[in-house]
Structures are given as C-alpha cells and as structure tokens.
C-alpha cells in the first residue's frame, strides 16, 4: 500500500504542522519552554512508534498535544520539581481552551510574540521562531543560516535562558503595543523568507524550505490577525515573489525579472497575492491606516506580476509606489531600487545620478546596478570595473555567473 510507504513523510509533515500548536499549548500550561519542547519531541517519538501499527488518529494534533501533556506531567512528577507553578499545572485536569488575554486568543500567537520579543537578539528571534513554531531541528536551522550547529544550539539555549530568567511573558501584547511588537514578528518572518529565497539553485534544499516555512508562518499570522494590513501585505509580498521562484535561476545562472519566463510563473500564487493587495488597497481607501512597508512592497510586486510582458510594466506606478515606500522606509537600498524604476521612465543618466551618491560599497547589487546603468550609457570600461566589484561582493554562484556573462558580453563588443 502506498499509504504505509508514505507514512514517515506524513508523520513528519503532521508533526511540523502541529509542532507550534503543541509547544505553544504546553508552554502556556506549564510556563516553561524546555518542558514544552522536550514533551513535544517525546510525543513525536510516540507517534513514530505507534501510528504505523494503529494508524494515524483522526485528530493527530490533539493526539500529539495530549500525549505531550502526559509526558510533561510524567517528567515533572519524576523530577518532583518543587516549583508551585508546575504543581499547579498538574492539578489542572480541564482541557478546554484557555481564556483570552489578548486581542486574539491563540497560543501560537503568544508564542510568536515571545520568540520575537525585542529584548532578544535579532538572530535568536529567527532561530527560536523556526525551532518552536516551525518545528525545525537545531541542525536544520544551522544549515539554513550557514552557521555551525553548536553555534545555533548555543544561540537557542541562551535565548531560552533569558526568556526564563528575565521572565519574558508568554502573552500577546495589549492593543496599545501590538502594532510595534507586530513589526518585530513580521520582520522575523520576512528574514526567514529571504534567507530561503536568496539561496541559489543547487544550494542545500533546506535553505529553500525556509521560504515555504515563512509563507506558512505568514498564513498563520493572517488567520490569527485578519484585520492587520501589514500582515496581509507581508503574505502577499512573499506569495508574489515565491510565484517566480522557478524562473529565477536557469542553468545555474540568475535570471533578471525582465528576462524571466513569465508564462512559468505560478498563476495561483499570483492570484492569491493580487487578491491580498486589493484587500489592502480597499482597507486604506476605506479610511484605514496608511500602507506600511510590506503593503507597499507587495503592491510593487503586484504591478510587476500584472504585466504579462516585461515591456508592459507600468513603471510610472512603480516609481510612485517607491516614492511612498521611501517616505515610510528611507533607506539607501529603497532609494536604489527606486532609481532602477526611474531608469525605465527617465533614462539611465537620471538614475545613475541617484545611484552614485548612495555609495553602498559592500552591497553587490549597488555595483551591479551601476554596471548596468553605465553599460546602457555606453561607458564600457567603467561598467566593466563595476561588474568586477559586484562579482567580488557576492558569494552567490548564480549571481556571479550572471554578472560574469554580462561583463564578458561587454568586452566582446
């Protein structure tokens, strides 16, 4: 039977989908992340042992949670921890949902705000979110972020120790703080997405899976906070970029947006992303708060994915959106991306005058953008040294292959 063949993969998928819920529910109940995490791991082992014989239970998430709760109680009894909180937790026999203490009642949302607490270092926020909500192993996270496993393990241990010692609460912030704190959560999800997306073809597949994980977290946030424009914006942004994933690299070489095979873009993801962007526009038009960074970036990507041919791109609208984005997020990288759109509208000379003073010497895309603008202006030797600088500034092999070809085309002329 094929189902028994697929069983380990199915268990793995269920576990990953349910991990956040199980850990979050136990963390609330026992007030201790280590106990919650260990018990979730033990519940998985029990599932791997029992499900092949007994079949997957009708409510696998509930099965995993109640198994984990029993394992946690066993452990607490065994170790006879004297903490009153744990003793109190054992007394609880009622499994009904907890009371609401924030704008949205969901343990996973509480856990997400705990993992992304501003008192934790940014790199630890990302790792904790993937470990506790995404169910990724420490080894997988380490591979995803290209650091040794021991480094990642230390980072996670230190962050969990701080949560415990500094008493970082397991709570959704009250409505006066939720917008600020939500920004940190969205930032983590976006970082996870980029980490996966920027990994080239032929790289470790675990890295590409980070994008899927980010989209899953984005969908979860969207379910939990359906009225937050930036939540919808981030999900739309990720979907519209992910829709182009398969066309972004061909034969080990990066393919620029204007040269991608648009027919191979994923129409379902694009439709979903466009619907979210329309919803954001309607919310803003209806008197809601002005669009933030993610909604504006999603709108820019919606304009790109709206053009079935690169030549049909509405550059005027893209420049306008970049103007608004730059007003909200005045970073040199936004200024540079705006200039790339300006080049299509007002020509490479105007764009170069914006790009040159930004002096993002360590950023390969700055050199690559200059190289392209200089090439279009017929300034070949300057363009060539800019390509050289761009190649030197990136480790991504698909990017390097693309830049080398463009540089070599230059010298052939």
């Amino acid at each position: 039977m094929t189902s028994s063949q697929d069983l380990p993969a199915r268990i793995d998928r269920i576990y990953r989908e349910e991990h956040g819920r199980v850990v979050a529910s136990l963390a609330r109940r026992f007030g201790d992340l280590d106990i919650a995490e260990d018990a979730a791991g033990e519940a998985l082992l029990a599932a791997v042992e029992q499900w092949p014989d007994e079949g997957i239970p009708p409510n696998p998430g509930g099965w995993l949670t109640s198994t984990a709760v029993h394992r946690a109680i066993d452990r607490i009894r065994r170790e006879s921890l004297r903490d009153t909180k744990h003793r109190a937790a054992i007394m609880i026999t009622d499994d009904t949902p907890h009371e609401s203490t924030g704008p949205v009642e969901d343990d996973r949302l509480r856990l997400m705000f705990t993992c992304c607490h501003p008192a934790l270092p940014a790199e630890a926020r990302v790792a904790l979110t993937l470990r506790l909500l995404g169910g990724l192993t420490t080894e997988e996270i380490a591979r995803g972020f290209l650091v040794p496993e021991t480094t990642m393990a230390r980072r996670l241990t230190r962050a969990k120790a701080k949560i415990k010692a500094a008493n970082i609460p397991f709570r959704v912030p009250d409505s006066s703080d939720v917008t600020d704190r939500l920004g940190a959560v969205l930032n983590v999800v976006h970082l996870v997405f980029n980490e996966g997306y920027l990994a080239g073809a032929g790289d470790d597949p675990v890295r590409a899976e980070l994008s899927d994980e980010a989209i899953r977290l984005g969908r979860l946030l969207r379910t939990l906070l359906p009225d937050e424009g930036e939540v919808a914006g981030l999900l739309a942004l990720m979907l519209l970029i992910d829709a182009r994933r398969s066309t972004r690299v061909a034969g080990g070489e990066l393919v620029r947006l204007d040269e991608q095979d648009r027919g191979a873009w994923d129409p379902e993801l694009i439709a979903e992303g466009h619907a979210l962007v329309r919803e954001c526009l309607a919310r803003v038009a209806g008197g809601g708060p002005g669009p933030g960074t993610y909604q504006l970036m999603a709108a820019i990507n919606a304009v790109h994915t709206d053009a079935s041919d690169a030549r049909d791109t509405d550059w005027g609208q893209i420049v306008q959106l970049y103007d608004r984005l730059h007003a909200v997020t005045p970073t040199p990288i936004v200024a540079m991306n705006r200039a790339i759109a300006v080049a299509e509208l007002d020509g490479p000379e105007v764009a170069l005058a914006i790009v040159d003073p930004l002096r993002l010497e360590d950023y390969h895309a700055w050199h690559a953008t200059r190289a392209d603008l200089l090439r279009r202006l017929g300034r070949g030797s300057e363009s060539r040294s800019a390509y050289d600088a761009a190649i030197a500034a990136t480790d991504n092999s698909a990017e390097q292959t693309y830049l080398r070809r463009r540089r070599d085309q230059l010298s052939a002329r």
Binding site: H117, A119, A165, A166, N167, I168, P169, R171, P173
Partner: protein
C-alpha cells in the same frame, strides 16, 4: 512576580545640579518614584554620590587592602538604580522607559536571581 534592577549608567561627570534642566529631571524622578510606590511596584531606589567618593576594598587575601576609587578603569559607572517588583519583563520595560525619561539617562534592566 519578578524583581528587576533598573540601573542608570553615567559616562563622564554628573550634570550640574543647579541648572534648570537638572532641577526638572529631579522633580520628574521624584514624581516617578511616587507613582512606583503607589502602584506597589517599588522595592528600593537610590542615587549614588560621584565616583570619586568610592573606596575599593579587597578582603580576599590575608591583608585587607583599601584603596581610593573604583576597581575598573571603565568610563561607564553606576549613578543610581531602582529595584522594582512587577509581573514580567514587559511591565519592567514600560517602567524603565518612564524612569529613563524622568531622569534623562538611558537605563539597563536586569532580573534578580530567583529564590
């Protein structure tokens, strides 16, 4: 409940206490302290005399050595602190932000070791 220390670190000499600005920050800090007491979050607070009043004592060896000044050559030194008792870090951070605003200095929040 968790106890936290909110410490005020200074670099360089204390500001001149006679200026209008310093007077305003003393008044704001006093009002902040009263709010902490009324809310039952106050454990202790105090401002320290300047660092040149410090005396270092080392009793680890056979002879106790007493020297003028602090141990470290660090530019940063403790100017004062609050000890508060609140539910969790979020509450402590909110209070720390108010305290920082009142005294006109950046502050650091650290939990005390548990029981």
């Amino acid at each position: 409940m968790t106890q936290y220390m909110i410490s005020v670190n200074h670099i360089g000499p204390y500001p001149d206490p006679t200026t209008e600005e310093a007077q305003a920050s003393f008044a704001a800090t006093g009002a902040f302290n009263e709010r902490l007491m009324e809310a039952g979050q106050w454990v202790f607070a105090g401002g320290l005399q300047p660092l040149d009043t410090a005396t270092a004592v080392d009793g680890r060896g056979g002879d106790v050595t007493v020297t003028d000044g602090a141990f470290s050559e660090s530019k940063e030194y403790l100017g004062g602190f609050w000890v508060i008792d609140v539910a969790d870090l979020d509450e402590a951070l909110k209070i720390a932000a108010e305290g920082s605003k009142a005294c006109g200095q950046a502050v650091v929040v650290r939990p005390f070791q548990g029981e």
